[in-house]
């Protein structure tokens, strides 16, 4: 889908200048991000750090006790296996517990996408664009290493890095295939659950990478949107009847989110959007373009409202 560019205003010019963004990006934020001033201010602050407990190896209570003894201050979140970190006397990626695979440094938003996948033991799961493996290892722990996970990752470097994470976390039910998502059909397999955390423009992680305030252009959003439309169609073709596809991105752009899901709804009549509890409702309209009413079942996570990285999640059930 072509990137839509709302007209500029004095407000967007002033905000773009104050926070160092390209103006076209702020023009767009004003059209789809609630409470933009608070949002832009939040993006200037260090984001909350989260760790996800690897229940293949320990429990949240036990890990909280161990890291607490080292001076970490951890807090429960909406997900039982995810803890937020308010005080860390050392890097969270350098503790013995981390090296032993007892936890994974992972944002709450990305864990929410796995939570929406509704994984059970002894099922078949496909994880598209899987590296570095945070979501894959979380799926594996929810499955208690039963069933099977096929993780697709086209990049050899990223696949290698992912293999270290799978090993560290003690995952034994997963294999990595060096394929792109569009090649799923060649495998001739179908799955109970498919996770497509699609490559995106990463608007949601600006707080972690400030270069993104000015490093991408409207054409990049369009490029991602087109790629995502072909990926979601391929992913949908791999879901068994009764199965679930979770589509997610770390972008706020409607062209990369609601428009992509809407493109699938227009192609397939056997799919419905299931509600997700946490987050703000997905958009049903953007710049005069209408999306399906059920798009309000999808979820947008905003840093200033939900204390996560910016994220979008849609849970799709197939008849």
């Amino acid at each position: 889908m072509k990137t839509l560019l709302p007209p500029g205003s004095d407000e967007s010019r002033e905000l773009a200048k104050r926070y160092g963004y390209d103006q076209w990006l702020v023009d767009r934020f004003l059209a789809y991000v609630p409470e933009v001033q608070e949002f832009l201010a939040k993006m200037e602050r260090i984001p909350t750090q989260y760790i996800r407990v690897n229940t293949l190896k320990t429990s949240p209570e036990e890990l909280q006790k161990r890291l607490g003894a080292k001076g970490f201050v951890l807090h429960p979140t909406r997900l039982a296996e995810v803890l937020s970190v308010s005080v860390s006397p050392m890097s969270v990626g350098a503790t013995t517990e981390y090296l032993l695979g007892q936890y994974y440094v992972q944002d709450l938003s990305s864990c929410m996408a796995v939570d929406a996948l509704d994984v059970k033991e002894n099922i078949q799961v496909l994880d598209i664009a899987a590296a570095p493996g945070g979501k894959t290892t979380m799926i594996a722990q929810k499955m208690q290493n039963t069933g099977s996970i096929i993780a697709l990752e086209p990049s050899a470097v990223r696949a290698r890095s992912m293999s270290f994470n799978l090993a560290r976390c003690g995952v034994s039910n997963t294999c990595i295939l060096q394929h792109s998502g569009e090649e799923i059909g060649k495998l001739g397999l179908t799955f109970d659950r498919v996770l497509l955390d699609a490559p995106c423009s990463c608007e949601g992680v600006i707080a972690k990478d400030m270069t993104r305030k000015t490093s991408h252009e409207p054409a990049d959003v369009e490029f991602c949107s087109n790629k995502q439309e072909s990926l979601i169609a391929a992913a949908a073709a791999a879901v068994k009847p009764g199965g679930v596809l979770v589509y997610s991105t770390c972008s706020f752009a409607p062209e990369e989110n609601e428009a992509v899901v809407n493109s699938l709804l227009q192609k397939r009549t056997d799919v419905s959007i299931e509600p997700i509890e946490f987050g703000a409702s997905g958009l049903t309209e953007f710049q005069g373009i209408m999306f399906a009413e059920s798009m309000n079942n999808t979820r947008r996570l905003y840093p200033h409202l939900h204390d996560t990285t910016g994220f979008y999640i849609a849970k799709l059930r197939f008849d």
Binding site: K57, G93, A94, T96, L99, L100, G101, N122, Q124, N145, T146, G147, S148, I149, I150, A156, A159, R160, S161, M162, S163, F164, L166, A167, R168, G170, V171, S172, N173, T174, C175, I176, L177, Q178, L187, L189
Partner: protein
């Protein structure tokens, strides 16, 4: 491009070698109902897998699969991941040495073990024997090889166990 792995079932001879090793490490019973395959290469790797991915491995030659629990050459040598599984499931103590908290960080930097830092080791251990290195919580932090036998393993002032693999390598190798 990272190399695809060729997976296959174990031969009868390989299975015998593996079963003997699992018995030695005190995890034969745990592995009785588990699926393992061989990833070809030099050395051959033994991979713990879920039963459901067996047919996928044999059909698609993935870049990586399952959990590599060790290598098979003349005998079986546990990997760090294997050591982790074994330590969490075994009731045996013979081939496991426990170190004090001060030594844990040193092991995670790949350093060898001084006898002073070993708080528990079987007196039945021989020289040149593979051992799994445990922290005080009995979690595997490394794999090593003894330089001495019996009580000499805990002698003061000398390195008595060579560290062959340690959990710190996840950071060093990935970086």
């Amino acid at each position: 491009m990272i190399e695809s792995l060729k997976f296959r079932e174990l031969t009868r001879e390989e299975l015998t070698t593996l079963n003997r090793a699992l018995d030695k490490w005190g995890v034969f019973e745990f592995f009785k109902d588990k699926a393992v395959v061989i990833a070809e290469g030099t050395p051959k790797k033994v991979c713990l897998i879920s039963a459901d991915i067996r047919h996928i491995l044999l059909k698609f030659e993935p870049e990586y699969a399952g959990l590599v629990i060790g290598e098979l050459q003349k005998g079986f040598a546990p990997s760090l991941q294997g050591a982790d599984v074994f330590a969490s499931k075994t009731k045996s103590t013979k081939y496991y040495v426990t170190v004090n908290e001060n030594a844990v960080q040193l092991v995670l930097y790949g350093r060898d073990l001084m006898g002073d830092s070993i708080t528990l080791a079987s007196e039945e251990l021989d020289e040149n024997q593979l051992v799994i290195i445990l922290n005080p919580r009995k979690e595997a932090i490394g794999v090593g090889r003894t330089r001495f036998a019996g009580k000499s393993i805990t002698q003061k002032g000398r390195i008595t166990v060579t560290t062959l693999a340690d959990a710190g390598s996840y950071l060093r190798d990935e970086g």
